[in-house]
């Protein structure tokens, strides 16, 4: 392939309030996933696997957490003499035009930085985000796009039924000629019918993308790139490309938790992570994980660098986690550097990074509403969510235990 045939646009301006508190201090793209990845690894690896050498990363806010992870893009082979990674943070006020706030919509960020697409010299542009967790072959999309000869190619996934949590997505109707006929919100979709979910992955000529951005900014600066593309795929001849692999829309704590738990099933893990397209991530030097004599671990995914002395079942554990002797961890997600003290019991819990659970603490969430513990917390009380269908209430078993809240040395 000629160098720089495609330029990648990572659209990371995804709304994050839906994943609070996990996204209080990080964009959705930086969410840790499956013991050692972050969501941004997926589109980034997909693009680089397809030979994309120039990638623009567009964010609404601080690029710190993404930049920390990606850096030069070395792990993805992006630190070559060709192209590279470019970071564009949204401008909330434009000094050139006084203090006018540009908070609504991300299109102005793209417009201001369109030179990047032009300079890449790429014939095609691919737009992807991180909310739609998948592993897609971008080269196959390009081949299909050229074969079909449409103006735009949009990627979709056929699902038997739209999940309640996915109603915020859009779905398409596609004619026998393979062209997109219409697009509507999934809330308007007839329940019980198959739906073609729009995965918000688009491939089109760079010149067309720039034209679309330029035209819309002339009329309205306060909209999103996604809105622009939604309009375009209805107006212009658009080819639908069907994706058949694993897909999860990460739009709530529950879907984020479920996506991680899905990886405990070999078929999902294979589809997303062990296929022909490897997912790369920032490499860390960690020791192998140690399991002690007292450990009892099964049906779990565990990263390097952990020390497991307790009982772990149906859980996903990130790097450098310690599970002490006698601790019970079930159906939980434990991020990097967390510590679970002896005798603690955790069920349906999501621990963010560097959480410390003191000995004998009991945290019981439910499948539908896992308890989320914020980054750097120290927890030493009893928290239980009653496993009801819709009614969820906090039932502290011993109210006096709140007094035990004490800081730790480590």
């Amino acid at each position: 392939m000629r160098k720089n045939k495609i330029c990648g646009i990572l659209n990371l301006t995804e709304p994050r309030h839906v994943l609070f508190p996990l996204t209080l201090a990080r964009p959705v793209a930086s969410l840790p996933f499956c013991s050692r990845y972050r969501l941004v690894d997926f589109p980034l690896s997909n693009l680089t696997s397809a030979g994309v050498e120039t990638i623009g990363v567009f964010l609404n806010d601080s690029i710190r957490s993404i930049y920390d992870h990606v850096r030069s893009g070395k792990e993805w082979g992006m630190d070559s003499v060709h192209g590279g990674l470019f970071f564009f943070s949204s401008i909330t006020s434009d000094p050139g035009e006084g203090q006018r706030r540009l908070l609504d919509g991300d299109i102005y960020n793209y417009f201001k930085n369109m030179e990047f697409i032009e300079k890449s010299g790429a014939e095609y542009a691919v737009v992807m985000g991180t909310e739609m967790l998948c592993n897609i072959d971008v080269q196959a999309v390009l081949r299909n796009h050229i074969e079909q000869g449409a103006d735009i190619t949009v990627v979709y996934k056929t699902v038997d039924q739209v999940a309640k949590s996915d109603e915020g997505l859009s779905c398409m109707t596609i004619g026998d000629d393979g062209l997109v006929q219409g697009l509507r919100s999934c809330t308007l979709h007839n329940n019980g019918e198959k739906a073609l979910i729009n995965m918000e992955i688009y491939l089109l000529k760079s010149t067309l993308l720039m034209k679309l951005i330029r035209n819309v900014v002339a009329e309205n600066e306060h909209c999103n790139l996604n809105d622009v593309l939604h309009q375009a795929i209805v107006k212009l001849p658009t080819n639908g490309f069907e994706y058949t692999g694993y897909l999860k829309n990460i739009n709530s704590v529950k879907s984020y938790y479920d996506a991680n738990m899905d990886m405990l099933q070999d078929a999902n893990m294979t589809a997303l992570l062990k296929g022909s397209q490897p997912i790369h991530t920032k490499v860390k030097n960690e020791a192998p994980t140690y399991y002690s004599k007292t450990s009892d671990a099964s049906d779990s995914l565990v990263a390097n660098g952990c020390v497991i002395k307790g009982n772990v079942t149906h859980s996903v554990i990130f790097r450098n986690v310690t599970v002490e002797k006698g601790a019970v961890l079930n159906s939980s997600l434990v991020m990097q550097g967390s510590y679970i003290g002896s005798g603690a019991e955790l069920r349906y819990v999501v621990l963010d990074k560097q959480v410390r659970i003191e000995a004998n603490t009991k945290l019981i969430g439910t499948k539908d509403k896992p308890i989320v513990i914020e980054k750097n917390s120290i927890i030493s009380r009893i928290l239980e969510e009653n496993s009801g269908l819709s009614q969820v209430e906090s039932l502290p078993e011993k109210s006096g235990d709140r007094e035990d809240y004490h800081p730790s040395l480590s």
Partner: protein, 381 residues
């Protein structure tokens, strides 16, 4: 460019006592501890000691070693002013330059060393498991105004006759060197780690070459010659963990000891990390049937069987009802169902058919790289 000290890692040893494990790869490239190769320890020590320029002298089966080391970036040794250079024997106008010994390998690479204009030269061997701050040893070398410093470690007196033994006076000056003495006078064994004042070593090597004197080996020739000429040769005592894993038994012993989280090497210590090339693999998965006790497991594994007191390296698959005990399974090995492996070392990319059995009795069983075990026809089963 002017480095005060540069390191030369001698990674050319054949390591024939490791049998199958070194038939196709050099000893320093032999896997250790689940996710390391032996040379990672020397390279990481260099990196952590602030040494920026490292020459790795290879000779025997260097392919695996060269691809492992690459440009040194995994150890942070790809800095602008330094870097790792792989030095291989080459032919020149004076004929073939196959390395005859440790010191001869340095002699053949004088032009490489000179190009960095070092004041001191650190000589390391690429086949020991240890953590050591070479800066302390260099400070000692300078403080003693030595021209040669030999790192030594105390070994049990009854084992001393297996080592090169240094006899020192009370100022740590080496007064006598005995290679594998029958009746050792001290228990200070040479670790094969030397610091030389480069100008002095360079003179010994070139002069001896000109006069036809044998100066091929540091232990046998160079150190005795330094002593005979009254050079300041000192012994730097090291008291940490240090293991030569030159035999199957010692490799197995060192690995088994490494499982213990309270191991002296303290592999989880963030202030002195041991780096390695880290290929990307998903986390390891333990199925509902898996039973893992007292073991180390690395990324990419799929474990449905029992693992007891063993080290399982990257991307190993262990099938249902298989039992692994007291063994080292190197990366990318595939183990079928109902397999029993005990007291064994299994090389990379080995394959075990269902029901295969490898049980080391008195001696450790070794399965070579890419070896296939089991898979008998139906009648034979």
């Amino acid at each position: 460019m002017n480095d005060e000290v540069i390191a030369m890692i001698l990674a050319g040893g054949q390591g024939s006592r490791l049998g199958k494990l070194t038939r196709t790869i050099a000893k320093p490239a032999v896997p250790f501890g689940g996710k390391y190769r032996i040379i990672d320890f020397s390279l990481s020590n260099c990196s952590n000691s602030g040494i920026k320029t490292v020459g790795v002298v290879t000779q025997y089966q260097p392919l695996e070693l060269n691809s492992h080391i690459g440009n040194g970036s995994h150890w942070g040794l790809d800095s602008k002013e330094g870097g790792v250079t792989i030095l291989q024997p080459h032919s020149s106008l004076d004929g073939e330059k196959w390395f005859e010994g440790t010191a001869h390998a340095i002699y053949q690479n004088i032009s490489y060393i000179d190009s960095h204009h070092p004041t001191y030269l650190l000589i390391l061997s690429g086949d020991h498991i240890y953590k050591m701050d070479y800066e302390h040893m260099l400070d000692f070398h300078k403080r003693k105004k030595a021209t040669a410093t030999v790192a030594v470690i105390r070994v049990p007196l009854e084992e001393a006759s297996r080592f090169g033994i240094m006899n020192t006076d009370n100022t740590d000056r080496i007064i006598e060197f005995e290679e594998k003495p029958a009746e050792p006078k001290s228990n200070l064994a040479s670790m094969g780690i030397y610091i030389f004042t480069w100008e002095v070593l360079r003179r010994y090597l070139t002069e001896s070459h000109a006069t036809g004197q044998n100066m091929d080996d540091f232990g046998k020739n160079v150190i005795p010659s330094f002593l005979a000429n009254g050079e300041n040769v000192f012994a730097y005592a090291f008291d940490g963990y240090w293991k030569d894993v030159g035999t199957i038994q010692s490799l197995w012993d060192a690995n088994m000891a490494f499982i213990n989280p309270d191991h002296e090497l303290n592999i989880r210590d963030k202030s002195w990390r041991i780096y390695s090339k880290n290929p990307v693999a998903p986390p390891h998965y333990l199925t509902s049937e898996a039973k893992v006790k007292e073991s180390l497991i690395v990324d990419g594994c799929y474990i449905a069987g029992e693992v007891d007191h063993s080290i399982i390296s990257q991307n190993v698959k262990i099938g249902l009802n298989s039992k692994i005990k007291d063994s080292i399974i190197m990366s990318n090995t595939v183990i079928g169902k109902n397999v029993t492996i005990e007291h064994a070392i299994v090389g990379e990319h080995a394959v075990f058919a269902d029901n295969a059995q490898i049980v080391g009795e008195d001696e450790i069983e070794v399965v070579g790289y890419n070896e296939v075990v089991g898979g008998l026809t139906d009648e034979e089963e």
